[in-house]
């Protein structure tokens, strides 16, 4: 599936819920299936700045696709990074770089899209794209 197809899938799933509680509960649920970062990568260097809770992210390149793993000490943040990783992981770096992130708005997390938001969703997206950029540079 392309990034866009995964995003559409996520939008479909969230469209089943009609209040924020259900959406958040589902997001928390998704956090539980997050591909967890290996312990040795869970270092201070891999913490994403600007989040009130801690978020660790790691990226590998497997068959010219970027594979992300992550973790967080807060479950909502874990849900958010899980959604982002589901949309971006296992994709060619260039596709990740090109991807837009409007789906965040469409699944009802618009309020998290402010660059000043303490949960750092915008910082997470930036970090994932930075990894993709690094691997893309490697490919060229």
């Amino acid at each position: 599936m392309t990034v866009e197809q995964v995003q559409d899938e996520i939008i479909d799933e969230f469209s089943l819920f009609n209040d924020w509680m259900q959406r958040y509960e589902y997001m928390i649920e998704l956090g539980k299936s997050l591909p967890l970062i290996e312990k040795k990568h869970k270092t201070d260097d891999n913490i994403i700045k600007g989040c009130q809770s801690k978020v660790w992210v790691h990226a590998d390149m497997v068959d010219e696709k970027v594979v992300f793993t992550a973790d967080s000490d807060a479950v909502i943040t874990k849900g958010i990074i899980a959604i982002l990783i589901r949309a971006f992981s296992n994709q060619p770096p260039q596709d990740i770089l090109d991807a837009n992130t409007d789906f965040i708005d469409q699944i009802g997390l618009k309020e998290h899209l402010s660059p000043t938001r303490a949960n750092g969703l915008v910082s997470m997206i930036k970090q994932l794209k930075l990894y993709a950029l690094a691997y893309q540079t490697q490919l060229n």
Binding site: Y24, I28, S53, V75
Partner: protein
């Protein structure tokens, strides 16, 4: 005297707004208090009627603005029971006030001199002193805290000695709400000849301190913590100290004579008020004190105590909930965690329910380090909060916990 909460709440337009589709329940008063119409009107009136740069102006607008600004200084003087009006220095807030004093002490302390901070401080009352100690070679000592969030007064007395030059401690801890025994702290410090700075940022919206009786050397306040505007505060300093400290900032108003060879400084309070002050802010600061005094700090205190007790009773029913700093002497602040749930998760869900609390380290990392936690959820009440607010809040915490467990 019971507060007429309907009347009071009508003074605060923001309290009737919606957040995320819910009625706002504002429990982040320790971060900043809300502003009543009476104060907003004073601000608008300033810009509509007599905005002008103050002091030295011979024209009527400048005179009106100067008079109002100086009247505000007197309101502040009266409120805090300060001997002389020129002991009231307008600053841009507590952080500025503390930095002003720290800068000054940096120039008069000798290497090896000791200064004492408490473990319960906001970063604003830690970092300026660390910077000062680096410059002067003075040594920073720390009064340890105990498990119930109070200071170890025995250890404090042990720390005091002839080398101690200054003790700085907050009146009320912003992270826990603990009211420190400042009278005792001051008396003991004075016995060894040390001065005391009390950071009143967190106290000033709840307690009316009598600075003359306290015999404190410095006291700091931020107007935005007592229904006033942002960007203004005060430093009280005893005249003898303010005369001893060098000026902090250079500029207009703080000088008597300027040549390129030599500059002489003006008298108090101008020596410490370089540049155009927050004129409108100072006037609104005075208006905020007038507003709160019209309600009365005694009535405010007992209402807030009631809210605190009620919230405590309700919250402690929640399984796995721990309140930090659960001691007898505190303002209406409850700092807590539930099991291993991250405070950020609870804060986020409460926000979705329209309830504003603060989560995190509250600019008091040493307290978090003491309890070995990344942060807490902090609900902090003001006189305009109600028992209904408490009910909605406790119910919200329960719903959040149910989702997060």
């Amino acid at each position: 005297m019971k507060l007429d909460l309907n009347m009071i709440r009508a003074d605060f337009p923001i309290l009737s707004r919606k957040v995320n589709g819910q009625d706002l329940v504002y429990l982040d008063n320790a971060a900043t208090s809300q502003t009543p119409t009476q104060v907003i009107d004073v601000i608008a009136d300033y810009y509509q009627s007599y905005n002008a740069n103050i002091h030295r102006g011979v024209h009527a607008l400048s005179q009106e603005a100067t008079d109002k600004f100086e009247q505000a200084r007197q309101s502040i003087q009266n409120h805090f029971n300060i001997r002389k009006s020129h002991e009231v220095i307008f600053t841009s807030g507590t952080t500025h006030s503390i930095n002003l004093v720290a800068f000054g002490f940096g120039t008069i302390l000798d290497p090896g001199d000791e200064v004492i901070v408490s473990a319960l401080e906001h970063h604003a009352n830690i970092v300026p002193w660390q910077m000062m100690c680096e410059r002067s070679g003075a040594i920073l000592r720390v009064i340890p805290m105990t498990d119930d969030g109070t200071l170890d007064m025995h250890a404090y007395k042990e720390l005091l000695n002839k080398k101690t030059k200054l003790v700085f401690v907050n009146h009320v801890s912003n992270a826990l709400g603990t009211i420190n025994p400042i009278k005792e702290i001051i008396n003991n410090a004075h016995k060894v000849g040390a001065a005391v700075l009390v950071d009143g940022a967190q106290a000033c919206g709840h307690i009316k301190p009598n600075l003359k009786n306290l015999d404190v050397d410095f006291y700091t306040v931020s107007a935005h913590k007592l229904c006033g505007p942002t960007g203004v505060g005060m430093l009280y300093g005893k005249e003898k100290w303010l005369n001893k400290l060098p000026p902090y900032q250079g500029g207009g108003e703080m000088i008597e004579e300027v040549t390129f060879e030599k500059t002489t400084y003006a008298d108090l309070p101008h020596k410490f008020e370089a540049g155009t002050p927050n004129i409108c802010g100072g006037i609104a600061f005075g208006a905020a004190l007038d507003y709160m005094n019209a309600i009365g700090f005694e009535a405010i205190g007992s209402h807030e105590d009631e809210l605190l007790q009620y919230a405590n009773e309700q919250l402690t029913q929640i399984e796995g909930l721990r309140i930090y700093g659960d001691n007898k002497q505190k303002t209406a602040v409850i700092s807590f965690n539930i099991d291993s749930i991250h405070p950020y998760d609870v804060g986020t869900l409460l926000d979705k329910m329209g309830i504003a609390v603060r989560t995190g380290h509250h600019c008091a990392q040493p307290i978090m380090d003491y309890y070995k936690i990344p942060g807490t959820i902090r609900a902090s009440f003001a006189f305009y909060n109600t028992k209904d607010d408490v009910d909605i809040f406790v119910n919200g915490v329960q719903r959040a916990v149910a989702m997060l467990r």
